[in-house]
Symmetry: C2
Subunit: 237 residues, 2 copies
């Protein structure tokens, strides 16, 4: 039987690459996107396109109302998304986000009969989020086996974060080699309804720098009037 995996798919560049990696390893991929109170649905629309393009076996969307607790510029409309680099853990940090995402992936894995979870976290260009570090992933893997019916019955879970030590440029090169079409993906924290990027937020700056460092064309579509990949190069990236 083909091994099954649950792949967390945000619609961004990293998770699309992870789905391509899991597919290339032969996994039957059960993609999961989480609507957690993001300000817009452009990322989720991108996730639908990416799941189809990369041959996911199925794709589900779970809603969770993280806006009820707030505490992040991504879920609380009263906190602006910064457009310049900041020190320390940024306000775009969503409290316990990756713990919540992996928990939901774990529940889906139990139902789908998967014992592997894939997540596109990255500790290099990670913007200072604590739940993107290898020690966090290892701790979740231990938890997952203890937490579940499958684990109790002797099937340990693996949590795979294949990009955790890669630079953005390395991720892009790896994805291109696997046939990922990054024009389908949306990384921007302030994308418009059509998925066009602002060119100014942390996520845009890290992404634009990645394409530049990889030496490949940046397919990102920007808002009319947004900086775009070139003028973003004028910011401190």
């Amino acid at each position: 039987m083909t091994a099954r995996a649950v792949v967390l798919l945000s619609g961004g560049l990293d998770s699309a690459t992870v789905l391509a990696i899991a597919r290339a390893e032969g996994f039957e991929c059960h993609a999961l996107s989480v609507r957690y109170g993001q300000r817009h649905d452009a990322e989720l629309d991108a996730a639908v396109r990416v799941a189809a393009a990369l041959g996911a076996h199925e794709h589900r969307v779970i809603g969770v109302d993280l806006g009820a607790i707030g505490g992040s510029a991504l879920t609380d409309p009263s906190i602006p998304v910064p457009t310049a680099p900041t020190e320390g853990i940024p306000v775009t940090y969503v409290p316990a986000r990756n713990t919540v995402l992996l928990s939901l992936a774990l529940g889906f894995a139990e139902v789908a009969g998967a014992h592997t979870l894939f997540i596109g976290v990255n500790a290099v260009d990670y913007s200072g989020y604590p739940d993107c570090r290898p020690a966090f992933i290892d701790a979740f893997e231990r938890l997952a086996t203890l937490a579940t019916k499958a684990g109790v019955e002797g099937a340990p879970f693996a949590v795979r974060a294949p990009l955790i030590r890669s630079s953005k440029a390395e991720i892009i090169r790896r994805g291109l080699a696997l046939g990922v079409d990054y024009a389908l993906t949306v990384s921007c924290y302030r994308a418009d309804a059509d998925g066009r990027a602002c060119g100014e937020c942390d996520a845009c700056r890290i992404r634009a720098r990645g394409f530049r460092d990889a030496g490949v064309p940046d397919p990102t579509r920007y808002h009319r009037g947004a900086g775009g990949g070139c003028s973003a190069g004028g910011l401190r990236l």
Copy 2:
């Protein structure tokens, strides 16, 4: 400053007792209920009453659509709730439920400035759920400190499960001593819209046995025609 805690509050007997314990220890309690696709809102209505009666500082409700992944009689209407004891892990097991609940509590704790989480899990009358065991709680505590901004900045999280080794009768006696009004709570998996219990499901049978073993009156309200505490005694409890 008064220490703050997030207390997971389902509206059932165990979590009400836990809230009373946390209050008695002097915590400022930020109660959190999760609407995870339960078939009815009677438990959540009970949580609102319990939070008010026991002096929670605030009470929030987060919705998460676990029905999108199914796999449990509690979230999938096509799976009936059993009315007789079953072997092994029962179909009322919700995949990764306590992992999801604690993850959400962790996110709320970061926003509320709390470093302690309280959860009413129980490994004695636990119905065979893997995520009610002490090893699971310990693993989540380790994860929580690694996962969070507060943890990175040197404030470890504590996950408290003060009922984990108590029998249902011990829990009831402890709660009564702390002034818990169990008439406000709803444990039944099949409660009606008014919070009246069926007297037949696992949760009802364990609860009825607890009051009987504690030697105190059972304040549970049953459906018209439901078995109730006495006739439930005729089942294999």
